[in-house]
Point group: C3
Chain length 327, copies 3
């Protein structure tokens, strides 16, 4: 602690917005400019910034992580209110401990087993033989299909669908015969899944999301995929069938991976990258072109369309040792 050791705080805020009893933090150096003028009650920051801090400072090697803990302490999530809402529909063959909360209009089917302090949000559907680990929370309107297994302390946001059929069809021209999707979905502990994200069940074996994986909104996980522990996938990202993603990978937004690949641990994919081949070496990978003025883009895109042909010509014309002059 630097400055007034007795400083008390009761809320959190941004460097520009916090006042009086609110504590703020400086993690992203690009916000450093706001430090000099902050009116926060205190700021969590790295030692190197303390000299610029006009208010009491809490020094931390990882200010953002410390902020996360302080914020959770000051603003704890609403506790479960044990009990089954009278409008919920719970099968007599389901296991619902007294500490669990089943909210209005929710459905818990036969064979489902809920752990201690589980919360099933309004209108959520827990299918037959689903298991939900202790302390896991389903937001309103989540669907867990037959036999899905979810670990402990997970958080699934509204509109999430886990255990829908994988996309499997056998062609018999012109028709497609549905391939029954007989596998399940196994989700580890401490997994968070964003709003309207979908995770398909396996075709024969299980789709697996390992411990500590964090998925943002509108992510799509196809059948037979495995996502390694602590991998983070931002919104609009997706992984096609039977691909295995390693541990501790980072997917920027809208990163998509084709099927039947293997992605090693610690691979980082920047925003809007398409992964078309297996990745065997940790590191950062990119694959998108950014917006340009429409006219410039059009001209460059037209050149791209003839790139191979043009390169052939240019290479031929400039072959070293070749006389290009007329004489």
């Amino acid at each position: 602690m630097h400055g007034n050791k007795g400083q008390r705080v009761q809320a959190v805020g941004t460097l520009t917005g916090a006042t009086g009893r609110a504590i703020s933090f400086l993690a992203n150096p690009s916000y450093r400019r706001h430090l000099a003028t902050t009116r926060a009650g205190a700021v969590i920051l790295e030692e190197r910034f303390v000299a610029d801090c006009p208010v009491p400072a809490l020094i931390a090697a990882n200010p953002y992580a410390v902020y996360a803990r302080v914020a959770r302490f000051l603003h704890p999530p609403r506790a479960a209110e044990p009990g089954v809402h009278p409008s919920a529909s719970v099968s007599k063959d389901a296991v619902v401990p007294e500490s669990a909360q089943v909210c209005a209009q929710a459905v818990v089917a036969g064979g489902a087993m809920l752990g201690e302090s589980v919360v099933i949000g309004e209108g959520s559907v827990v299918g037959p033989d689903v298991t939900v680990g202790d302390g896991t929370r389903l937001a309103p309107r989540v669907v867990l299909m037959d036999g899905v297994r979810i670990g402990k302390r997970c958080l699934l946001h509204s509109g999430v669908v886990v255990g829908s059929d994988g996309f499997g069809f056998a062609r018999e021209d012109p028709e497609w015969i549905k391939v029954p999707q007989l596998g399940g979905v196994v989700i580890g502990d401490d997994v968070e899944i964003g709003a309207n994200t979908t995770v398909d069940r396996g075709a024969v074996e299980d789709t697996v999301i390992e411990d500590g994986v964090k998925m943002d909104n509108q992510v799509q996980i196809a059948h037979n995929v495995r996502i390694g522990a602590h991998t983070v996938m931002s919104a609009f990202s997706g992984v096609a069938g039977s691909t295995r993603v390693g541990a501790r990978c980072l997917f920027g937004g809208a990163v998509v991976v084709v099927g039947h690949l293997t992605i090693c641990d610690d691979a980082v994919f920047t925003f809007r990258t398409a992964v078309l081949r297996s990745i065997t070496e940790p590191g950062t990978y990119s694959g998108t072109l950014g917006a340009e003025k429409a006219g410039l883009w059009r001209r460059n895109a037209a050149r791209f369309r003839t790139l191979d042909e043009t390169m052939r010509q240019l290479r031929a014309r400039t072959k070293p040792g070749r006389r290009t002059g007329g004489d």
Copy 2:
């Protein structure tokens, strides 16, 4: 009006489909070819096309806007049927005016305040302390999480989730600590949000959607984003965390913007553009390459992979004044 001033119409139709008492319109000139043969009861069009119109014509500077009003007049949306359906679950601590309609299986939590003539669709969930402005309609199965504030005359389509947690985690290898998402979501008046679109709550301050914004299906708005008034975002578009989008911008489909950027007013992004840097100048921006025959694409893509290296070589070989001949 041109032609029979007494013409009566009672429905709308396309130039090719309308007959008898149906009125049509010509807005997109590419459909002009259908004008000569239309059997519509009347056509709304610009003066310049009236000579080609074989039926009574309603002349307008903005035919599409006039058509929109005529269509709404002839086919008004179903009015709210005031009252709470017996299967709905409404907290005694919620404010639900007599003019509001709460449909079957819907949930309205404590502290929620619904305005006059609000419609809460079947199975929709209005969370604690949510406010919904007069005349706003929620289609079936919409979720508004705790404390979300929605303005007047908005329309939210099925599967919309507003106020889910933003995607915020602090890294403490190998784990990720959840950063509580303590902000809210504020949505202005006359906003339309498409099916299965998600709008996250802010981390500390609010995510803001200003008046008159129109969002299509499966759009994603991350935490702390601000979308300026009357901006239009087509399907699959998304904006990453803390980015501010100006007013009257147009997003073609699948336009995605990275986080922490500023997009000026009146920026137009064409289909499937990725925005990787702030935009400071109004105008049209593009960023995608279109489909080509697979073989041609493969060859050009291979050249792209070596573009920098090849360009270096070619520039060196063709440096003006350099002798490239062998003699």
Copy 3:
């Protein structure tokens, strides 16, 4: 049959996972390496692989299709349990045959007509005047808006929304006037629609999904679109307004098509392709660049930004017959 003609099987499995009484299959040659060591009770495969098969083999020209049938026979989908759950809300003006199943918390509105053996999943909403053909199943939490018509033997997964308003607005600066979406949605027989996929209703006429179309999760179909029979669209694919897609097309994942185009029959689009113009010739089309190491990508992307300008210079400098030497 090759090998023990009397072999009995009672389940299915993968080449590596199947044992004892489980039958497996070899369809994708890249899994051929697993054949020699399989412990499956039998394997369905092509004649050319039978020599390598250590266990009884069922020889088939199309092993995957035969596997699909065997799997369905051994693991039939759960049959409908006729009846209306007491927590469901069914209008007295709806037609619900005795063979149909309406699950917990579901809603069936007035004028809706369900066919024989239809299943309406938990929390699903069938809107006014909707028709659902014999044998069609809705997973939990599907929404069918007013007047939607669905054929026979369809399967709609959780979170699907059919019949939401198309995205239509007329500009009247700075505002946008909503164009009423008065068309419907017509879906043929044997259509499967993946989780959280959205299909908008037409503006004036109908959005049409023909027989046998298969759509994966999080697909988006805009208003007035027509998808031809037996076309397959993988996850994240989308078609913008008024575009007509032919029959038997294949969309890899994340394939998006702009509006007002015509795509011929039998067009194949590889993963993450953007279709910006009409396609008149059957064949395979591509349009994405794959991930590269970030540094390499950055250099190539920078070259792309100046591609047109550079090409002009290079072409000028290398014009055949031009003297480039200094002498």
